[in-house]
């Protein structure tokens, strides 16, 4: 009979104090890494902090070149001026942006998911015909003039739809959604069908509720895209009353850098104020939702 080892087995209990001893090289690496990351963070943050400081500084301090990270001649007059000038035009542009972002994001989500879901069904024969057409648009476009004539002939120029419709469906996002839909177990959908749901019912009652992560991510992606877009406004929104704030900001910045000598009269703090106000919502929201950004790139990126 073999002897039995009665000694108690070694039990590993996690104890924060029981750390693996770090080598000197690793410690040095960590220190250097931290220093470098702090420097990189500072270099990234500095322009923005400078901008904020400038927006609160007096015009004379800016002209004198006294602006630093701490505002000189602190005041909020420029903010008041930017917001209230020309019958509060800035707020009107802001409101336009909010409308475009909300309407555009909702519609984009709707149309993208409705397109992505059937594409996720490999057995659907028409996909073999449709998919290449959809993928094709990722690599080739009709060109600026062709798109412009299309919007013109459709009577969409100078309307909100001229801004929203060209961005309604992003092929890349559709492909991400399609990959996510493909990962939903077939059994669940078949169970839904057995329980009497039609195809749309399965999509709406089973696929969509299971796809909250990708929908959250797409919401974010589309919302940021609509918020930041100024190019469509430049092409299709001639009427200033319909401009989004991003395009207004674009004109201010470019105006201040124009070769026309009078353009330099637009002072630097007006420029910085407008920039701060425009990016403020994104700055506020981004720290909260940035994890979705990272996750979003992974979600649907891998097909199981």
């Amino acid at each position: 009979m073999s002897s039995i080892d009665n000694s108690s087995p070694e039990i590993h209990v996690h104890n924060p104090k029981n750390k693996i001893k770090e080598s000197t090289g690793y410690k040095v690496f960590t220190v250097f890494n931290t220093i470098i990351m702090i420097l990189v963070s500072f270099a990234t943050l500095y322009p923005f902090l400078y901008l904020v400081s400038q927006s609160f500084s007096s015009e004379q301090a800016i002209i004198a070149g006294h602006t630093s990270l701490i505002p000189e001649g602190f005041n909020i007059n420029t903010y008041i001026y930017v917001i209230t000038r020309y019958d509060c035009e800035f707020l009107k542009y802001y409101l336009n942006t909010i409308i475009y972002t909300v309407v555009g994001t909702v519609l984009s989500l709707l149309f993208s998911s409705v397109l992505a879901y059937p594409l996720s069904k490999p057995k659907l024969r028409i996909n073999k015909f449709l998919s290449p057409f959809i993928i094709f648009t990722m690599y080739f476009g009709g060109g600026l003039i062709a798109n412009y004539v299309l919007i013109l002939k459709l009577g969409l120029k100078n309307s909100m739809w001229g801004f929203i419709l060209p961005m309604l469906i992003s092929t890349y996002y559709v492909i991400l959604m399609r990959s996510f839909f493909m990962s939903i177990p077939k059994d669940l959908e078949e169970a839904g069908e057995i329980d009497g749901l039609n195809k749309f019912g399965v999509f709406w009652n089973i696929a969509i509720p299971l796809s909250k992560p990708i929908i959250a991510t797409m919401t974010l992606f589309y919302a940021v895209m609509y918020w930041n877009n100024w190019f469509n406004a430049k092409l299709y929104l001639q009427d200033k009353a319909k401009w989004p704030v991003a395009y207004f900001l674009q004109t201010i910045i470019r105006g201040a850098g124009a070769s026309d000598p009078d353009a330099t009269q637009m002072s630097a703090n007006i420029k910085s104020c407008a920039m701060v106000l425009t990016v403020l919502p994104i700055i506020c929201v981004y720290p909260v939702i940035q994890k979705y950004y990272v996750q979003g790139m992974m979600l649907g990126g891998v097909k199981e």
Binding site: Q60, I62, I63, A64, G65, Y86, L144, I145, Y148, V149, L152, K234, L235, Q238, K240, Q250, T251, I252, R254, G255, A256, G257, A258, S259, D260, P261, D262, A263, T264, Q265, M266, A268
Partner: protein, 579 residues
């Protein structure tokens, strides 16, 4: 087998279509490059159906349509004085409507996107009738969307009067295409007035013992350098700066506004040496009067002399080499603070500089003075010899939709709007008696309570005055072109008028280069050669000027690098164009 046949048929079809395209391209580009001449005087003619016209027109007559008319017009909207509703309800557009019975249907685009957007509209068949603010019309003339306006100028009394009075045929020749026609109505000037120069702290210069008023009459760049050395020595002695500081840090030369070419400063210095550089580089080709031909100026001895001159200011510790990389605001803040004693200026900036310096240094604690630019190898002024400004195009759509008679009515309205003294005063100054007054000597002045950034009339400290440009659209950039010397000078403030007068008195007018008309193909060839060539020239130029390369030691290497980039090809094309 079927597939093979189909493939063959497809290939043949494609080949035929490609050959057709090539043939068509050849046809389009196969214009003659002969030099055409336009008339030295234009005789005003009347259309065959002139009787009982539904409008009044004529030289000295206000255009007025019997029935209300609406014309579409593109408009370049500047973000620093954006168009507002009051421009249409009571401002410049309303005033035009009241006088002429013409309503302008404005299609405005932000000035930064203006050319891109109107190009799209024109190419998409959505052009407005009147297309103002056009600097280069070459992108439009070949498409057939623009009317060759030279066919119609004889119907425009104000245009022809100005053209004939001031002999502008040579100038117009410079915008004439190879088919002998021109496509834009340019802003025309009786003469060019100096715009860019240098402003100095005259109080410091005087204290340093430099009598600049006397010196500048005939001074050259070496004299200016010596004067600046004296000024610096004085500033160092007074503790205003250290020995290692620079007293000249310039704007409009950095990466952004200087466009990597040295911008305004190098353009000015080079012009005095009969060369192209900085903002005025273009493709480097310049007409040489003595040789009566076009030469590539960046490889001439004059260019070398210009480089040595520009470099001498940096070598002497006067000019900050960071001038060519810094932001404009860095230069202006140093001048406003009194850290530097000289900086570039143009007509529109004088009042702005004074306003900022008063805020920084206090009124009475400084004195500005705009210099007459030193001479280089010639005594020529740095003004452009070409007396044309940006201009107006008329779309083919207008001719198609309005018919010949309606089109003549349109261009006679355009003639009044852009070339009559009445419209000039209206669009620049507003309504006489309401916004401005004219004294017995003909001097114009804004009525109390009004200001205008575009005319150099600043607001008061409380900002209580009404800016006639912001409020009603007067003195905007879409209408305000050329004119007589009196018209162009009527808003110059005394110090600016003084330096304009000194430049005219002390310097010669540079000769006008003869007009040449490259074809579309030649233009493309010129651009293909010039793009890398000028990039190379600019890179070397900045290295030479800032002292990174020795001019004398590396000059031959530089010239060789230009030759390797086919300078001769460029010269040959110009020789062919100007036989």
């Amino acid at each position: 087998m079927k597939t093979t046949k189909l493939a063959k048929v497809t290939c043949v079809g494609l080949a035929i279509s490609m050959l057709s395209t090539l043939a068509a391209c050849n046809g389009a580009g196969g214009e003659s490059s002969e030099v055409t001449t336009i008339p030295s005087q234009i005789e005003t003619t009347t259309a065959q159906t002139e009787e009982d016209l539904p409008y009044d027109y004529g030289y000295g007559v206000t255009f007025h349509a019997d029935e209300p008319v609406t014309y579409t017009m593109f408009f370049s909207d500047a973000s620093w004085y954006p168009m507002v509703d009051t421009w249409k309800t009571e401002g410049v557009f309303k005033q035009i409507q009241d006088r002429t019975n013409v309503t302008l249907d404005i299609k405005s685009y932000d000035s930064g996107d203006y050319m891109e957007n109107i190009t799209l509209d024109i190419n998409a068949g959505n052009a407005a009738y009147i297309i103002p603010k056009i600097y280069d019309d070459s992108a439009f003339v070949d498409g057939g969307a623009i009317v060759p306006i030279s066919d119609y100028v004889q119907y425009m009394p104000y245009f022809t009067e100005f053209y004939n009075t001031y002999n502008l045929s040579g100038d117009i020749q410079t915008i004439t295409r190879s088919n002998g026609k021109y496509y834009k109505l340019p802003g025309m000037k009786e003469a060019n007035l100096i715009n860019y120069s240098f402003v100095i702290r005259k109080d410091i210069w005087d204290a340093a013992g430099v009598d600049v008023v006397e010196l500048e009459k005939t001074w050259n760049w070496a004299d200016m350098l010596e004067a600046l050395k004296k000024v610096k020595a004085y500033m160092v002695a007074q503790g205003m700066c250290a020995e290692g500081d620079y007293i000249w840090s310039d704007l409009w030369c950095g990466n952004e506004s200087g466009q990597g070419s040295g911008g305004n400063l190098l353009g000015i210095i080079a012009a005095t040496y009969d060369c192209n550089a900085g903002w005025n580089m273009g493709n480097g080709m310049r007409y040489n009067v003595d040789q009566d031909k076009f030469i590539f100026s960046p490889t001439t001895d004059n260019y070398k002399a210009f480089l040595l001159t520009a470099n001498s200011f940096i070598e002497s510790g006067i000019l900050d080499p960071e001038t060519f990389t810094q932001d404009d605001a860095t230069a202006t803040s140093q001048y406003y603070n009194g850290k530097t004693a000289i900086m570039s200026i143009n007509q529109g900036q004088y009042a702005n500089y004074e306003e900022n310096m008063t805020a920084q240094l206090g009124a009475g604690n400084y004195e500005n003075y705009v210099l007459t630019i030193p001479v280089g190898s010639t005594n020529n002024s740095t003004v452009s010899p070409e007396r044309l400004e940006n201009g107006v195009m008329i779309s083919q759509k207008a001719l198609d939709e309005l018919g010949e008679d309606g089109f003549l009515e349109l261009i006679r309205f355009v003639d009044w709007l852009f070339y009559s003294h009445e419209a000039y005063d209206l669009t620049k100054w507003g309504v006489e008696g309401e916004h401005y007054t004219v004294d017995a000597d003909g001097n114009k002045k804004l009525v109390d309570g009004f200001c205008c950034g575009g005319l150099g009339y600043g607001n008061d400290e409380a900002g209580s005055m009404t800016d006639i440009r912001l409020q009603w659209g007067y003195a905007g950039g879409n209408f305000w072109y050329g004119g007589t010397v009196a018209e162009m000078s009527d808003n110059l403030i005394p110090p600016v008028a003084d330096y304009v007068a000194r430049d005219t008195a002390y310097r010669d007018v540079p000769p006008l280069a003869p007009g040449i008309a490259p074809t579309e193909d030649q233009n493309e060839e010129i651009n293909l050669i010039a793009t890398p060539l000028i990039s190379n020239v600019n890179t070397w130029t900045l290295k030479f000027v800032t002292g990174q390369e020795d001019i004398n030691a590396k000059w031959d290497e530089y010239v060789k690098s230009c030759e390797d980039l086919n300078v001769q090809g460029l010269v040959d094309i110009y020789a062919q164009l100007y036989k």
